[in-house]
Amino acid sequence: MINNLLKVHVNKLVMFIVWALSCTIVSAQNISVTGKVTGANGAVIAGASVKVKDSQAGTTTDSDGNFKIDVPARSVLVFSYVGFQEKQVQVNGSNNFTVSLTEAKNDLNEVVVIGYGSRKKRDITAAVANINVNDIGEQPSRNPSMLLQGQASGVVAYQRDGTPGAEFEVRIRGISSLGAGSAPLYVVDGFPIGTSIGTNFNPNDIESISILKDASATAIYGARGSNGVVLITTKNAKEGQLSTSLSVDYGIQNVPDSRKVKVLNGVEFAQFKKEVWMDNVRYFQNREPSIDEVPEGFRYPEQTKYSTNWFDEILHNNAPYTDINLTFSSGKGPVSSLLSIGYYNEQGAIIKTNYERYSVRSNLKAKINNIVTVGWNIAGSYKKYRGAATDGRDAIIGASLIIDPREPVYDADGKMRPYIGGKDGVFGYPNPVFELINVVRTRDAADLVTNGYAEFSILKGLKFRSSVNARINFTVNKDFKPSTIGDRLGSGSAGAPPKTASLDESRPQLINTSADQLLTYAPNMGKDHSLDFLVGFTAQQEKATNLIGTGNTLPNDLVPYLDAAVIRSSRSSGDDRGVEQWSLLAYIARANYAYKDKYLLSASFRREGSSRFGENNKYGNFPAASVGWRMTNEEFMPEISWLNDLKLRASWGVTGNNNIGNYSSLSFLNTNNYILSNSVASGVTISSFANTSLKWEKSDQLNVGIDLALLKNKIVITAEYYKKITNDMLLPISIPAVSGFTSSLSNIGKVQNKGFEFAIDYSERIGKFNLRNSFNITFNRNEILAINGPNDMLWYGAFYNGYSVQKVGRPVGMIYGYKKLGIFNTQEEIDKAPKQDGVIPGGMKFWDADGNGEVTYDTKDMVEIGNPNPKFTWGYTIAADYRGFDINVLFIGAQGFDVYRQIEESTMNMDGVFNVLDKAKDRWRSPQNPGSNPNDVHSQGGTNYFKWSRESSNRYIYRAGYIWLKNVSIGYNLPGIKYLGNVRVYVSGYNLFLFTKYPGNNPDVSQRSSVEDGNDDEAYPVPRTFAGGVKINF
């Protein structure tokens, strides 16, 4: 016994001696190494990990990028840092050296966030695009959605207008629904916040964005996955790093002259009025009018006193914007934290419009012990927005084009005139400058998004994560119209102020909470097999309430508060919406399997219930599966030096779209009171049919893709083909009114989107010069496969406004109208042509499409005249750096689509009630003077009539393809400065050059719903931005 004990102890003793000796021997050979770690552009990297290969020894670089480590001679040092390629360096006697790390842009080992988890890029078998925000040059941080512009194939972010702070419209793989919207789901740090990112989010807080495009990636989000999912990950402290950074940007915005619409000046307009008047007499009275008959207002155009360019008057030239961000982060120790404070202030390109955002974010993560990790993110922001009714012909932008240019902004005393027009038959409008100054329209919102989690590493490979999320939004809207604002479009005298002052205030509130319980298990299956599972449960609910107060007949304009109003009313709900509530709960499961890194398999399933659907269809199932085959790992593949990775993959899945409103399946009572005995008696009527069978809009999507890495990963190519069919589309169908109702929401209709996406990255390094090219292109084709019946067409729009038509067999939202054949020059031409009731010479000649001998004044002769869906869209980023300098340039483009320039119905209205475009000078005046090209599709007819001059037709259709130099930023990283740290200075320009034949301000304009693309009624102009800034890392 003692012997044995002794034996053990002796053995241990021997072992100890050997260990101690070996230590001594090794330590005897240690050398001290110092050095510096930098990025390829020479900027130092703080917090980079420096480890001795095959050893536990290691350190991290300090804030100047310097490190010091004692290592055995002849050992290998491994340098790594998030976002950079790992680098190994042999310590060869040298004991002071600088290591430059290359950015890991094309690194297939990069970890990408996916739904409810993350995966290495090389293992992903679904269509997922990853945007590293560091690869995007400096841009105004107006809204997170703009970061998506031009960055990934299949993803299009449209800047629909230039409203300060406005969100871009994002579409992933086309329009897949006619009734339920096409906006993707946004998920921030695991929290699904809805189909809009809103205007409270500071884009500077974003670390990376993943875009889930195909169903195998999005099916895990079930009934919200059909339109793709945008996963946003916010910044966290870098491990081992302590830093403080400050960035300050300052810029200005302008609407470039080339993007302004040119209308007549005062003299030209008077001349136009005079000619219109005289042509009218010549035509209808068949005589030459004498000059004395011409109304005084425009009898002598050259004597016109004033000439106001109203559009220029409302522009804010060199409107400034400021963007300040301060970030503290600490990744040292078990608790890492990041605090980010942001301030953004953008003055709009239109006077008196502006957007301001204050934001604070705190991301905390604590490793309590080896088992438990907890984290909490909290982001609060306050947005102040002052806007105006800018968009459309009946709003400020449209009005500024058509208001009488012969009138001055100020009267002789220098007082601003509140009301313009109303004389010589020109329509009256409030002075847009006066309106912008005096009408109050504010949208202020406080927003809090917070989420926390606790993660338990229970056993090896087994993790449980419980998280809770909440969003609280409180908005204050105020609209005050003082008595000095007249009515638009009235006849002059009736529309002129004073009017009754009015006030609308509303207080929408939203609370959204959700909780996820996720269990993941990745058993160790040996070298060849890798397997992991996820099962989980998620529940979410939202409640939106509102309080609306309306005040009318305010005695004066001094107190814009409800108390002052003589007539007041209040409601606890919006227009026809009450308290909006929805909820969902879902069970999710996913399994990933890989054999020898060669065969990759992934399958997921979500069963989801929603409060939005009918009693009979509360739950839906959303399965998906994908496979991948890494050919380069096959033994039969010859070792090819230039082919680094080749992966083929295919996926299929089912997703849903639940954006149908909250209570569509239910029937409610409407209040409809009556008067009995001269007092109010409660009454009710029924709002709609109840539809207990209402169910999900479901999409089946197939995706095949290829991932290719060539030439030492210098070239990375991804190509995908997809086909998505949306079934059971939720559409209101017209039903016979004898049922008591005119429409009923029903699951009918099918839309198909198929397309091809291609992305190529090419990086090259020549000495200290680094170059990166990134190009992506998307071809999407959509087609409506079914609506209600084979001949069904859904018409949106109106006779004078252009129609967007949904028709089986055609793409979504084709533009319909008459097809213009020219202008009738003489009565003989009219007599010979198919009948066009009431047309006179100078009138538009339209095509009798149905061949019945008459162009009827309805939609029967209207045909497809334009396609608003681009044939392809693309984005191209070229970035380069040399020593401390870098440049980043972004181009985007869209080709092969049409826009219906609706505003021309007004700006080319020849009645003389509006100012008109410059090109109106070249109009048809008489058979002898028919304008330079009367048969051109955009030619302008005569002025003697109303009918056949403004109907929906292809005279308003313009090709809108463009190439847009969206962003250029040039920066310089100063070498470290004492007490200041690293300093980066840069200049940038946004929306720089637009190459297009489109005559409007913005070819990406679209002012109607997502299925009525390409209607331009003149929106808030898109400005060009120039900025400069500095970033300091202390």
């Binding site: 308290v579 009527t685 016979p736 008591g740 009923s744």
Partner: protein, 521 residues
């Protein structure tokens, strides 16, 4: 040595602790997981409804709720009545419209009704159709719910009677607008069933109207209790049934029915103006009127005068400036000339011009519904449907057509005339009496939505076409209002006999091709 042992010991402890901790955390995690699932899975999580509104399923159970359902139907009648003048007066020779050349966009519908250029695509046709059938849905729904309820039998009968009166009212309008219409006496349960519904013959529709009215008569009270003043009474049902018989030329039935109204205690108001005075709503002459209430924020106001005032009259007519006014239902030169000298009603019913800023504008307008009100745009005027004078004139007409006692008929007619300050008529033969009574109806009931149906009732399609074309020719030659430079279209005021009824809305035929169109459209 000791060191090593100690380390080993520590490791052992730590392993042990770690295992215990694992179990502890595992249990915690599983507990949290189960708890959260339990909480979230409660079935109610997926039951979300709008708390600001009442779900249909749970309603219409007791007397109060059923009563609210009936009120809801009356409320829909308010809406129907707001625009009814466009279909019941403007197509006739009584009124026209003042064109606002600056803004004709919204006026397209009115213009088609005024100038007889309507067609099956005219939005107003679909509008009438939808409004009436939407109201009928609510009538049928409350009828069904009442039948299934366990409220007291007498209340049930009275509620059903009232609803049937309302259904008859709606169908009586529909059949006169469109001819054959779809007869729905039981609501469809799903949208699909609605595609099977087709038009019934006018005869069947009238049978339904007659049956409904007879049921209503059996249970409606002679007078509603004070708190329900404004709802239908026996007198209203009798008046309507009388008009139905008159329309169907069942003169003995008409006489018999209308005579029953005489004994219900109604009388002519001493002054014609009093009949329409909001301060004297539901007066002794009133049999059935659509109720409105202005001067408050309760949403029940009328605003007829704002539709009827000349569009540039500003505050000259209504007393408040709301910008551009309607300029609709403008009295024609024709009706203005039709008043006999000394007729006290003329000045109540219409004005031939207005003075604004000291300038007189000779644009006539309907003034019957113009009364002082305290809030801009919210008038307090009710709309008369049946009143005693109407019954007297219908009775006079029925007796005359039936070949009855000429003196008796003349007596009823002269009651109306003498109140208007006119001499009593005498010595008329049957044809002359027919003309006289129609003329008297035109004047007495001017702008109360009787004229177009009266013309249709008393004339054959061919006669109506000739009559209206003559009126159109006069209007074209000498328009009541200045047209602001807008010329007449060649199709304006060209009547054809198919226009005796309105077209079935094209949008409805497009949805359901089983619906037939009236000939000529």
């Amino acid at each position: 040595m000791k060191h090593t042992l100690y380390q080993e010991h520590l490791q052992g402890v730590s392993k042990l602790t770690s295992k215990q901790t694992d179990m502890k955390y595992l249990l915690t995690a599983v507990t949290i997981f189960i708890c959260i699932i339990q909480i979230s899975c409660s079935k109610s999580l997926l039951e979300k409804t709008d708390p600001t509104r009442v779900g249909t399923e749970t309603f219409f159970k007791d007397e109060t709720e059923l009563d609210q359902g009936v009120n809801g139907v009356y409320s829909q009648l308010q809406d129907i009545t707001r625009g009814a003048f466009v279909y019941k007066e403007m197509p006739s020779d009584n009124t026209t419209l003042q064109i606002n050349p600056q803004n004709r966009g919204g006026a397209v519908g009115w213009e088609t009704l005024e100038y007889a250029t309507w067609n099956s695509g005219t939005g107003d046709m679909a509008g009438i159709w939808r409004n009436y059938y939407s109201t009928l849905y609510n009538v049928n729904n409350v009828l069904e719910k009442t039948a299934n309820s366990d409220i007291a039998a007498d209340i049930k009968a009275q509620t059903e009677g009232e609803l049937k009166f309302l259904r008859a009212y709606l169908y009586f309008d529909l059949v006169r607008y469109f001819g054959d219409v779809v007869l729905v006496t039981q609501n469809v349960k799903t949208p699909d069933e609605a595609f099977d519904l087709i038009r019934s013959s006018q005869a069947d529709v009238y049978t339904q109207i007659e049956n409904d009215l007879k049921d209503a008569l059996a249970s409606l009270p002679g007078n509603q209790p004070a708190e329900k003043t404004g709802r239908a009474t026996k007198g209203a049902a009798l008046s309507m049934l009388g008009e139905v018989y008159l329309t169907n030329k069942r003169y003995p039935d008409a006489v018999n029915t209308l005579k029953q109204v005489l004994s219900l205690g109604y009388s002519l108001m001493p002054s014609y103006a009093d009949v329409f005075d909001p301060a004297k709503k539901n007066n002794a002459e009133s049999i059935f009127e659509i109720q409105y209430q202005g001067d408050n924020d309760l949403g029940e106001w009328s605003s007829f005068e704002y539709s009827f005032a000349p569009y540039l009259s500003g505050d000259a007519v209504t007393g408040y400036d709301v910008g551009t006014l309607g300029g609709q239902n403008i009295p024609t030169n024709d009706i203005i000339a039709a008043y006999e000298p000394g007729d006290l009603r003329k000045n109540v019913s219409l004005q031939t011009g207005y003075t604004k800023n000291g300038v007189y504008n000779a644009i006539p307008y309907v003034s019957k519904y113009n009364h002082p009100h305290t809030i801009k745009g919210r008038t307090n005027d009710n709309w008369p449907v049946y009143r005693y004078a109407d019954v007297l004139l219908m009775l006079a007409e029925a007796i005359n057509e039936d070949g009855g006692n000429g003196a008796e008929a003349l007596g009823y007619l002269n009651l109306v005339r003498t109140r208007a300050g006119l001499v009593a008529l005498a010595g008329l033969d049957r044809a002359a009496f027919r003309t006289a009574v129609l003329h008297e109806r035109r004047i007495e009931l001017a702008f109360e939505n009787h004229r177009w149906f009266d013309l249709k009732r008393t004339k054959t399609p061919a006669e109506l076409v000739a009559f209206m074309n003559a009126h159109g020719a006069r209007e074209k030659a000498n328009p009541t209002c200045d047209r602001g430079g807008v010329a007449f279209n060649a199709q304006d005021y060209v009547y054809t006999d198919n226009e005796y009824v309105f077209p079935i809305p094209a949008s409805e035929i497009l949805i359901n091709s089983n619906l037939t169109q009236n000939s000529g459209y």
